[in-house]
């Protein structure tokens, strides 16, 4: 009965005529490198996960600047809502990681060369869209960080020559971040960018079938566009494997493990905590980008200041240009990374940049620690007299936000735990009055008595001789 129903359905739709060749299309035998071919499909699985959880979230979310935050509280307050938010958030991170690994694999194996240049270009588009989804998604959380992300994005876009101001206003959907802003990001995140992803993904998958999955590269076997297709067909005829299930099982195994990990994390860790409400009048905000943009944030901070305006626009533009030009200028020749040693260097450099600057961005030494508490008495060494007064001045005047003393305070400026051993009182006075590139001048901002106390405090910052337990 079921079989008859299927035959009838197949007869009037022709599904099996179309699907069976796709499932069984021959794939080159990847041998040792078979497990490196699984990251594209894992990205796709996570994308499907994002669609499912995204639809669930959209059914509880109100894209209004006044209410979005409350609806997130509502979603997070339910058992399954909390899990769904967790899956969506960890899924976003997983998608960024997996598409990154997939791109690196394709790059290292030279699989972007003839005839797969358009596979690469559509993939580059998908990488861009994934990052856009990650950015717009964290913003839809619409807590304080979400709100300030829009402002900072508008300011960054404002650095674009000629159209910067217009672009910034376009991002805000007006003169200020207000009622119209969030709806725009919601529409982009839920309709516009996903539509582009479907379009590019459909083309990408069509091209995978059309050009066939690339064979593992071999040193000394360059791609020659004149002979490649015939050679590839002959390779498939000789040792091709049907995609389903001989090859696809690996995709399923990794996809399963990825989804299991994401769901486990979502249940165990839960979704990212909501910050304060998106109220622009709450000034106590310290917006930070998500981890996937943290390295770029750190990079922009650590480059020489004069270059920031150029890097902020040219950096992403250059990255995009390299992605587009790569298959066009290097579309043939050696594919093996052994014969393309610079490709290994490029990948090592990129991974190092993301890890190094990501770690820097995580610590954010350039951010003042504005929540630093007053120095406790055991650090100051006394509770009365000029040294204690000086410690009070040190905190009150904001010195401590940037200068660490005995583990308390910021790390923007030099650690002053043993300040007296580095500078004389005269040098300290000069520095306090003249300031520096990253330190304000306190001329006219300290009474003579405050200065005397502050110097007394700083003068007392020296290593204690062994055997003495108190600074006094």
């Amino acid at each position: 009965m079921l079989k008859r129903a299927w035959c009838w359905f197949d007869d009037i739709t022709g599904v099996s005529n179309w699907l069976v060749p796709i499932l069984h299309h021959p794939v080159p035998h990847a041998r040792k490198s078979a497990w490196s071919y699984v990251f594209g499909s894992a990205t796709l699985f996570v994308f499907l996960l994002q669609i499912v959880t995204g639809i669930a979230l959209a059914s509880g979310y109100v894209a209004s600047t006044g209410q979005a935050y409350d609806t997130l509280l509502f979603i997070s307050g339910t058992t399954f809502g909390r899990i769904v938010r967790g899956i969506h958030a960890f899924g976003a991170s997983a998608m960024v990681i997996l598409i990154g690994i997939h791109a690196i694999r394709v790059y290292l194996m030279g699989a972007y060369k003839y005839p797969r240049q358009m596979n690469w270009l559509t993939g580059a588009g998908l990488l861009l869209f994934t990052l856009l989804m990650a950015f717009t998604g964290q913003l839809l959380r619409w807590d304080q960080t979400g709100f300030w992300s829009v402002v900072i994005a508008a300011e960054q876009a404002g650095r674009t020559p000629f159209i910067g101001n217009w672009l910034g206003r376009f991002i805000l959907a007006g003169d200020t971040a207000g009622g119209a802003t969030l709806s725009r990001f919601f529409a982009a995140h839920v309709f516009f960018i996903p539509a582009l992803i479907f379009l590019f993904l459909g083309f990408h998958l069509y091209l995978v079938l059309h050009n066939g999955i690339s064979e593992p590269p071999k040193a000394g076997r360059p791609v020659d566009p004149k002979t490649y297709r015939a050679w590839y067909q002959e390779l498939l005829a000789r040792e091709g494997q049907p995609f389903w299930p001989d090859v696809a099982w690996r995709d399923v195994v990794l996809g399963f493990l990825v989804i299991l990990t994401i769901v486990t994390l979502a249940v165990a860790v839960g979704p990212p905590a909501l910050g304060k409400p998106p109220d622009p009048t709450i000034i106590e905000a310290s917006p930070r980008p998500e981890w996937y943009f943290l390295w770029y944030y750190a990079l922009l901070t650590l480059i020489p200041r004069w270059s920031e305006n150029y890097v902020i626009i040219l950096g992403p533009a250059l990255f995009g240009a390299v992605l587009v030009l790569l298959p066009l200028v290097a579309g043939k020749g050696e594919r093996s990374p052994i014969r393309r040693p610079w490709s290994l260097a490029v990948v090592a450099f990129a991974v190092f940049m993301i890890a190094f600057f990501g770690a820097k961005g995580h610590v954010a030494p350039w951010s003042p620690r504005m929540d630093a508490p007053p120095l406790p008495a055991e650090v100051v060494g006394t509770t009365t007299g000029p040294i204690a007064d000086g410690a009070n001045v040190f905190h009150k005047k904001g010195c401590e936000y940037c200068h660490k003393v005995a583990g308390y305070g910021g790390i923007r400026g030099p650690d002053l735990t043993y300040a007296a051993q580095r500078m004389t009182a005269a040098q300290m006075t000069t520095r306090i009055f003249s300031g520096a590139e990253n330190m304000p001048s306190y001329t006219g901002n300290l009474t003579p008595q405050e200065l005397t106390s502050l110097l007394a405090f700083l003068e007392s910052r020296r290593r204690r001789p062994p055997g003495l337990s108190s600074a006094q």
Binding site: I152, G158, G164, G168, T176, G178, P278, P280, T281, A285
Partner: protein, 162 residues
């Protein structure tokens, strides 16, 4: 020649007709859709009262908040804007935008230190808004402010984009 077969010129005409009709249909749909997307709201700039003159001490800087010029009913808390208001003299006030001129993060006023400090990259401004240290390229943006009938009013302004 088959009677049912169209002439070459006629086929060319029909091809062009189809392309033209398709283009017109696309345009008449796309123009309002894209126009709506690109058409930014340009609300009027209005003076908002933030308090009476005597609410502020000379030499002090305090946070004031006021409403957008024409807030949308669903804007909620985001319809509010904050500014740092400094009373310089009897009738002299300065209103600073809270947005750091570096990348727009909200700067905080440190009353004891007499400085504005930005939590993002540590930009510091003096009490008159000029840059004290760090990455900000320009002094804090000032909003127009006036005293009217003993009330302090700030002119609503666009987000300062560098």
């Amino acid at each position: 020649m088959n009677e049912n077969e169209l002439t070459e010129t006629r086929r060319r005409f029909l091809t062009r007709l189809s392309i033209a009709l398709g283009s017109i249909a696309t345009a008449i749909v796309a123009i309002p859709a894209v126009g709506f997307l690109l058409g930014l709201r340009k609300p009027p700039r209005v003076w908002r009262t933030v308090g009476a003159v005597n609410d502020f001490q000379i030499g002090s800087t305090v946070k004031v908040s006021f409403l957008d010029p024409s807030p949308l009913s669903w804007a909620g808390v985001t319809a509010q804007t904050a500014a740092w208001l400094r009373r310089e003299g009897d009738q002299q006030f300065i209103a600073f935008s809270v947005d750091c001129t570096h990348l727009g993060c909200p700067v905080r006023w440190l009353p004891d230190a007499n400085l504005f400090m930005c939590p993002c990259h540590g930009g510091v401004f003096y009490s008159n808004g000029t840059v004290a240290s760090g990455p900000p390229p320009r002094p804090l943006t000032q909003y127009p402010v006036r005293v009217q009938d003993n009330q302090i009013q700030i002119l609503t302004s666009p987000l300062p984009i560098t």
